[in-house]
Symmetry: C2
Subunit: 335 residues, 2 copies
DNA sequence: AACTTCTACGTAAACGTTTACGCAAAAGTC
DNA sequence: GACTTTTGCGTAAACGTTTACGTAGAAGTT
C-alpha cells in the first residue's frame, strides 16, 4: 500500500534508476531532476523499503543481542549502551532473551540467521561450542560482552575480573581489615566466578593474610537471594569476619538484608564491598562501596566493535575496560 | 554466500516452487519428493532467507518497542514480558530508546516504518499527535503500554492508576494512619501523575481525612533522586506525618534514604508504601510494601494484543490489568 | 568539422522468496 | 475405454530495491 520507488519515478517522469541514484546520493543526474524527484518524494511521503534494500544489499542494519536475562539491571545497562551505539551507527537491535538455555539460544541464533542480521553481541554467559560453530558459519561479526572464550577466537569486551577483585580485596585490607570473607558466584563459572575468587585470594595472600576455605562461600548465581543465603552461611561458618567482598552488587544487597536481620550494622559491625556499580548501589542504605564495571560504555564499545568489523572485514581486537573503585559508605576503616 | 532455495531445488531435481511448497507445508507434492527435498535441505544446511520472505509476504515477524529509558527496572520488566510473548508468537522485537524525546521518537518511527515492522508497542509516555498521525499512516497495529491516550483511539494495557492509588491510601488509613503524605510524580503528567494524586486524595476524603495541599509534594519524575528530594521537602512542610505514599518504588526508596539521614526509622517512625513492585522493593530494608503493577504480564498482554490485531485486522479492546497489594514490612499499624 | 570524452539518463537483471496459472500423468467413474 | 477429476509438479511473474551496461546528446579537443 505504501508508495514505491516506481510511483515516484512515474510521477517525476524519470526511471527508477534515477530515483535510486538520488536516494543513495550517487552521481548521474542533473540538479534539476534531483529537485523534481525530491519534491515528488516529499509530496507522496515516500520512504524506501528497508526490506527490499536488505535483500539486494545484503545488509539489514540490524544486529542481534543475546542476553541471559531481561529484567536484570546488569543487562539493562549494557543494553542501554548497545542501543545507543547502534542507533548512532544507523542500526537497530533485536534483543533475544536466552535464559542461559542452550536450546533457546540455538533457536534464537537460527532466527537471527534467517533474518540476516549484520552482527551479534553475545552477552554474559558461556559461549558453547555449539554456538560458536553455528555463528562462525553465519560469517558475520560477533563480539562477546562481559564474557570471553578461551577456546574460540571471538573478540570480547570485558573488565579484568581477576584484577578488579584483587583491587576490591586490597581496598579492604588497606582499610585495616584482616578477617575478610567473600560471597562468590558460582565456582564452576570460568568467566565471572573463578577469576573473582582467585583475585580475591591472591590479594589477601600478597598482603600476608592467610585465606581459609571457610572465608569464602560459593553461591549458585549472582542474585539477591544468593546473597541472602550466602551471607548467612558465611557468617555461620566464620563469625569473626569484619569485612565481606560480594562478587556482585545484588549479592551485596542480599547480604545487607541478612545482616539487618541478624542485627548487624553496615559498616559499623561489618564492612561490605560490592561489584558492578548498578543503580541499586547508590540507592541502598548505606550507599554501597563497589568496584564499577562501566556497563554502558562496555555496551557501546561492543556495538562499535561489531560495526568496525563490518566495515573493515577484519576481526576487532578484544578490549579490557577499566574498572574503578566507587567509594561510598559501606566500608569502614578498621580502627 | 549461504545456500538458496535454488540450490536446494537443483540438487533435489525439482523446481523451486516445489521446495517452497514443502517449506511452507502446503499441498502439491508426493511424500517421496518431500523426503528427498528435506534430505537435501538437511545436507546443505539450508535456511530460508527471512528478508526475501518479508519482501513478498509483507510480514517481517518483527515488532518495534518504544521505551523512554532502557536502564530502568520498570522498562526491563515490561520488556521481559513483551519479548517472551513475541518469541512465543514467532516474532522478534526491535527496541528503541526514545528518552521521551520527540525528535528521537519520530526518527525511530521513521526507521521502524522503513523496516516494515508488523506492529508497535509504545511504552509509558505521552502519545503525541505527531506520533499518532505518523503511526496511523503506517497502518499497522499499535498498542499503548502503561499509558493511554484520551485523544486518539489506540488500545492500551494499563492498571487503573486512580484505583490503585486509592487502594494504597486506603491501606494506610486502614492501618490507622491519618496524617498521610504523598510523594507524587510530575503533576503535569496526565497519565501517571494526576490520576495517582487524585486517587490518593479521594481515598482520604472518603475516609473523612481532610487533605491539605501541604500533604503532597510534586516531583519532576519518578526516579530515586526525585524521591530523595521530594521526601525531604514533604517532611519539612509537614513534620507530623506518620505515613507516606510514594507514587513509585524508586521514589519510595529515595525516601528511605533521606529518612535514614534524618534518623527516622521505617516503619517505626514513618510508614511508607510504594507503587510498582519492582525487584528493589523486596531487596530494600525493610522490604517495601507496595501496590504491584503486573509489569511482565502487562508486557505479554500488550504483545499478544498486537498479534491478535495482526490476525484479525480488528482493533483490540483495551485492557485494565489488576493491581495488587503486596504487604511487606514498611507499613506499621498505627497504635 | 571530426574526433573523443562526459553527462544524464534508461533498460533490464539480480537479490531470494511466494504463488497464480497451466499441464501432463495418474486415478477415479460409468 | 472414454470421460472427468485429482495429484504432482514446473514456469514465470511479482515483491521493491540496486546496479551493470548501454546510449543519445552535450561538451571539449584538435
Amino acid at each position: 500500500m505504501p508508495y514505491t520507488i516506481k510511483d515516484v519515478a512515474k510521477k517525476a517522469n524519470v526511471s527508477i534508476a534515477t530515483v535510486s541514484r538520488i536516494l543513495n546520493n550517487q552521481t548521474g543526474y542533473s540538479e534539476k531532476t534531483k529537485k523534481k524527484v525530491l519534491t515528488v518524494i516529499e509530496e507522496l511521503g515516500y520512504h524506501p523499503n528497508a526490506v527490499a534494500r536488505g535483500l539486494v544489499n545484503k545488509r539489514t542494519h540490524t544486529i542481534g543481542v543475546l542476553v541471559p536475562a531481561l529484567s536484570s539491571m546488569f543487562v539493562a545497562e549494557v543494553l542501554d549502551g548497545i542501543e545507543k551505539a547502534a542507533n548512532e551507527a544507523g542500526s537497530s537491535i533485536i534483543v533475544c532473551h536466552t535464559e542461559s538455555n542452550g536450546e533457546k539460544t540455538m533457536n534464537y541464533l537460527q532466527l537471527l540467521n534467517e533474518k540476516r542480521i549484520d552482527g551479534i553481541i553475545f552477552t554474559s554467559g558461556i559461549l558453547k561450542d555449539e554456538y560458536y560453530e553455528f555463528t562462525s558459519k553465519m560469517k558475520i561479526p560477533m563480539v562477546l560482552l562481559a564474557t570471553l572464550s578461551h577456546k574460540h577466537p571471538v573478540p570480547y569486551v570485558k573488565v579484568d575480573d581477576y584484577k578488579a577483585s584483587y583491587a576490591a580485596a586490597e581496598y579492604l585490607v588497606a582499610k585495616g581489615h584482616t578477617k575478610i570473607g567473600m560471597i562468590s558466584g558460582n565456582k564452576m563459572d570460568i568467566i565471572a566466578g573463578i577469576p573473582r575468587i582467585e583475585g580475591f585470594k591472591k590479594a589477601l595472600e600478597d598482603h600476608g593474610i592467610s585465606v581459609n576455605e571457610k572465608n569464602v562461600v560459593y553461591c549458585e548465581g549472582f542474585a539477591f537471594l544468593d546473597g541472602v543465603e550466602g551471607s548467612r552461611k558465611l557468617l555461620e561458618q566464620n563469625p569473626e569476619l569484619t569485612a565481606i567482598f560480594a562478587a556482585s552488587d545484588e549479592l551485596a544487597i542480599g547480604a545487607y538484608s541478612t545482616l539487618y536481620q541478624m542485627d548487624l550494622r553496615v559498616p559499623d559491625d561489618l564492612s561490605i564491598i560490592g561489584y558492578d556499580n548498578l543503580s541499586i548501589a547508590k540507592m541502598s542504605i548505606p550507599p554501597l562501596t563497589t568496584v564499577e564495571q562501566p556497563l554502558i560504555k562496555m555496551g557501546e564499545e561492543a556495538a562499535r566493535m561489531v560495526f568496525s568489523m563490518l566495515e573493515s572485514g577484519e576481526a576487532a581486537k578484544s578490549r579490557i575496560m577499566p574498572h574503578q573503585m566507587i567509594e561510598r559508605l559501606s566500608v569502614k576503616e578498621k580502627g
